[in-house]
């Protein structure tokens, strides 16, 4: 009898699941009919400026020996830090394509790297489940946000080998500071508005906020059902929100103060690989393996635009907006970078150049160029 009960129990669960899935599909269809890309109808207004798409590759940065997994711009708008599968982190002056510093980690697959706002240190993490902060030799202090005192947390470089060249494994590892410890790989890390706090997203389905100086966990954010692939902090300095997207196809909006999830969006069909804020911080976009980029608005609490095309078949690894938000660039697994017009929803074009998956894409701080890193071990700067 118990066996029968169990069987019927399982049956009802199955049928309920199916019903839930059917309802969800119906909801999606109804939603589609309802708004039908209101944003795009606005974009079709005749007074909208037409875009001319004339982006070319301006620099190629060669130096990695394996796949480039992540990169970040410095606030001085010309330096780039990039990390790759061979465990190396390189700091480049992208304008002259010179390598300024190289750091070798003992672990391979450095999934995430970030540049500190002051330009004095970098953070990186990956399969070692940790996020570490390294000081940089020639700490190029940029015009940081007003009020930053001289960083007491950045240990001064012990070996002052000027400028370029490898930091020998011994000394750089001594200066390394392990800040974050997760139970699974780090998929994304970013400094908050200063050098002293780091936000990490990890494969153990949590995000966490850390204090760099003391390596203390300030706040942790639980809620994803699967690996978190990317996190992004709100561009407003007074904002407390950040967004995260994960393999459970959901994007969550979190409040950093209370560690609570404020909003959730689930309309993607596959893993979300990348999340980015719209320049004003009122909306954000996500790039996913289902080959679409979707834009969500916080106030409207729903998806407001979906950028997809039949000919774009491969998943989107990374996305970024241009400074005005008018253009979205998506780095795809078909080795191309696709550019979309945000308010019209049309694809503006595709950029060729990489010879393997494009794994990361980021706009420079002043929006003059964007950089892509690829599994063909090169980085390219486009403008």
């Amino acid at each position: 009898m118990a066996g029968n009960k169990n069987a019927s129990h399982v049956d009802t669960i199955e049928s309920l699941k199916k019903e839930a899935e059917q309802l969800r599909k119906k909801l999606q269809e109804d939603r589609k009919n309802l708004n039908d890309a209101e944003l795009f109808t606005m974009g079709k207004k005749p007074e909208t400026l037409n875009l001319s798409f004339q982006v070319r590759c301006r620099r190629i940065l060669k130096g990695h020996t394996s796949k480039v997994l992540d990169m970040d711009w410095s606030l001085d708008k010309r330096r780039i830090v990039s990390s790759s599968q061979d465990g190396k982190i390189l700091v480049w002056d992208a304008f002259t394509t010179n390598k300024e510093q190289a750091i070798s980690l003992p672990t391979t697959w450095v999934n995430a790297c970030a540049y500190a706002p002051s330009g004095g240190s970098i953070a990186c993490g990956g399969l070692d489940n940790k996020c570490s902060v390294f000081p940089l030799h020639s700490a190029t202090s940029t015009s940081g946000s007003g009020g930053t005192t001289s960083s007491s947390s950045n240990k001064p470089a012990v070996t002052s080998s000027a400028g370029q060249g490898d930091s020998t494994a011994g000394t750089i590892m001594q200066q390394r500071k392990v800040v974050a410890m997760h139970t699974s790989y780090i998929s994304a890390c970013t400094f908050t508005h200063s050098d002293y706090q780091i936000l990490t997203a990890s494969g153990d389905s949590t995000c966490a906020l850390w204090d760099v100086e003391s390596s203390q966990l300030l706040q942790s954010f639980h809620g994803h059902q699967s690996d978190v692939m990317d996190a992004a902090l709100s561009p407003c300095e007074t904002g407390n929100l950040f967004i995260s997207g994960g393999c459970d196809k959901t994007a969550y909006v979190w409040d950093m103060r209370t560690a609570k999830c404020v909003q959730s969006f689930q309309t993607h069909d596959s893993d979300i690989n990348s999340v980015r804020w719209f320049p004003t911080g009122e909306a954000f976009a996500t790039g996913s393996d289902d080959a679409t980029i979707r834009m969500y608005d916080l106030r409207a609490d729903r998806e407001i635009a979906c950028f997809s095309k039949d000919s774009v078949i491969f998943g989107v690894n990374s996305i970024d907006f241009s400074v005005s938000g008018r253009m979205i660039f998506g780095a795809c697994n078909d080795y191309l970078v696709h550019a979309w017009d945000t308010i019209r929803g049309v694809k503006l074009g595709a950029l060729f150049g990489h010879e393997n998956r494009v794994s990361c894409l980021k706009m420079s701080p002043d929006g003059t160029a964007f950089c892509t890193g690829s599994w063909d071990s090169t980085l390219r700067v486009w403008a």
Partner: protein, 561 residues
């Protein structure tokens, strides 16, 4: 953080591994003869990172690097879409039109009849179901509405690299393939669904051995490449205990193949050849990059995907409050959101380097030279850049983040006697991301300087906010203690001071003095006439046209974009 989940590493069913691998960052190598990970191999699975292959063969570095992307299984969603596309291609009426690939002596009527057993005279004069690259690209362009020829070629190339179609020639390898380029005489064919990557065919080493042996037996079809001979030798060593079995299996396979009619034989051989070209296996084991297998278990992406999660779904906060404020209908809110985004996109184009329409705008990345081409950092003496200055007027946040803009804003506030607002704002912002050790002291400082009754420069906040802040201070001094006041001051500045700043003389002067980067300053330096003349003449020297591919920079010429 959660402790180690017991489910990991002990209950792996074969299917779970397969699903994990499909999205995994790594793929398994042959492990004692089988690529299939059985449930015996729980914690001791030898999963190897596809490190840069040093010993596989003497191919060029470029080949090695490019091949690696292909060893990584693409995500299932891509394969589903590609198979749907292929199915569409094969549709009778709307699909791709195919031609017959004709050869001399392909169909000797008598022997053909004997094998396929048809009584009617054979109408085959060649092998059907082939197509040319140009037809494929044409079809893709029309069906998928692709705007550029280069993109259509690229899509066709990707389909080939994934293993859904293949060219009937031996002159290709998976990494240097390019459909639509110099292949006017090459016929392409469909790969059989059995060999599609979406079918997750877990080929064993034995399969590979059989294939190489049958290739050896038929050198007319395609002689073994150098790497293949090496592979065969290696396999013979590894499978020496069952080499007889492999030989027999090959013989059986050949026998079965001979019983098909000639056209089918031809197609099958080519399909198998293409499959093994794409799925070129590695014959050597690698070390796992310094990490033990236990941590590999935790690094496979999406591992939790199909398993019930321990985390309860987060309860989304403040849904009730939202319903209260939802006086406007949802469509109205949607419209206002879209309008806001539309406005931002259209108004901010004047300082977005990708949409700017100004011929004088100088983008350092687009300059021809590198030396000295980086624009100098603008200071108050030199004046800001035009785009920078314009952006201050559009959005308050942009102004607050720009150091030069803040200088001008501070000047303006001094005139209005409200600069303490800005100081308070900046200090609070710093507090929110300050190191944990400094937080307490900073709170004290801010309080004594701005909020306490004896403050030197008290800020202008109403009593309600003041009480809230004081309550916060009594409760728990965190970095977010002053948030109420911060928001109040922010809104105040935005509504009053900022609006007046944008219309003020200070800002207008700054805008008038602003210039494009790298343009000569307003007071022209008088160059001697000779130098001016030489400079003018140099403008007539030939330069690179914008459309030309700069090969030195390694750009690929786009295919007739």
């Amino acid at each position: 953080m959660t402790t180690n989940n017991p489910r990991r590493g002990s209950q792996w069913a074969r299917s779970t591994w397969k699903r994990a691998l499909e999205g995994a960052l790594i793929s398994p190598l042959f492990d004692d003869g089988t690529m299939i990970i059985s449930s015996d191999h729980n914690d001791g699975v030898l999963l190897n990172v596809q490190a840069l292959d040093q010993e596989e063969d003497n191919t060029t570095g470029k080949n090695k690097q490019a091949d690696q992307g292909l060893q990584f299984p693409p995500r299932q969603s891509v394969l589903t879409r590609l198979t749907a596309l292929i199915v569409e291609m094969q549709h009778a009426s709307t699909g791709l039109p195919t031609v017959i690939q004709s050869f001399k002596g392909i169909c000797d009527t008598s022997s053909c009849q004997a094998t396929c057993g048809m009584n009617a005279p054979c109408a085959k004069t060649g092998v059907p179901d082939a197509f040319m690259a140009s037809t494929l690209i044409q079809w893709l362009t029309t069906t998928l509405d692709i705007t550029s020829y280069g993109e259509a070629c690229h899509l066709a190339t990707m389909m080939c690299r994934m293993g859904f179609i293949f060219p009937c020639t031996t002159e290709w390898n998976a990494s240097e393939l390019s459909v639509g380029v110099q292949d006017d005489n090459v016929f392409y064919r469909y790969q059989t669904p059995y060999h599609w990557p979406s079918e997750n065919l877990a080929a064993t080493e034995n399969d590979h051995a059989c294939y190489l042996l049958s290739r050896e037996m038929n050198p007319d079809f395609a002689p073994l490449d150098e790497y293949e001979t090496k592979c065969l030798a290696h396999l013979e060593k590894m499978l020496s205990h069952q080499w007889g079995f492999s030989n027999r299996a090959t013989a059986v396979k050949e026998n079965l193949l001979q019983q098909c009619c000639i056209t089918d034989q031809y197609i099958k051989r080519w399909q198998e050849y293409a499959f093994w070209k794409i799925n070129r296996p590695q014959c050597h084991k690698r070390s796992a990059g310094g990490l033990n297998t236990e941590s590999w278990n935790s690094c496979l992406r999406g591992l939790n995907r199909n398993l019930p999660s321990e985390n309860p779904k987060p309860t989304v906060v403040s849904k009730k409050e939202k319903k209260k404020t939802l006086g406007a209908s949802p469509s109205r809110i949607l419209k206002s959101s879209c309008t806001r985004i539309y406005t931002v996109c259209t108004e901010w184009y004047i300082f977005d380097p990708f949409t700017i329409d100004d011929p004088m705008y100088y983008n350092p990345w687009k300059s021809d030279t590198v030396q000295g081409a980086w624009p100098i950092v603008p200071t108050e003496e030199s004046g800001p850049y035009i785009t920078q200055c314009k952006s201050w007027a559009r959005n308050f946040d942009i102004l607050l983040k720009d150091e030069l803009g803040l200088n001008y804003f501070t000047e303006h506030l001094k005139k209005e006697f409200s600069e303490e607002n800005l100081s308070f704002y900046l200090d609070c912002v710093y507090l929110r991301s300050a190191p944990q050790s400094e937080v307490e002291e900073l709170i004290k400082n801010i309080f004594s300087e701005f909020i306490s009754p004896n403050a030197a420069t008290p800020i202008n906040i109403d009593t309600q906010t003041m009480n809230q802040v004081k309550q916060e201070m009594k409760k728990n001094k965190t970095r977010y203690t002053f948030d109420m006041a911060l928001e109040h001051i922010y809104k105040l500045m935005k509504k009053d001071s900022y609006k007046r700043f944008v219309n003020s003389n200070i800002y207008k002067d700054a805008l008038a003095n602003s210039k494009h980067p790298c343009k000569p300053p307003k007071e022209k330096i008088r160059l001697p006439k000779l130098i001016l003349r030489i400079w003018r003449l140099s403008q007539f020297l030939p330069k690179n046209k914008p459309g030309d591919a700069d090969v030195e920079r390694g750009e690929m010429p786009t295919l007739g974009n």
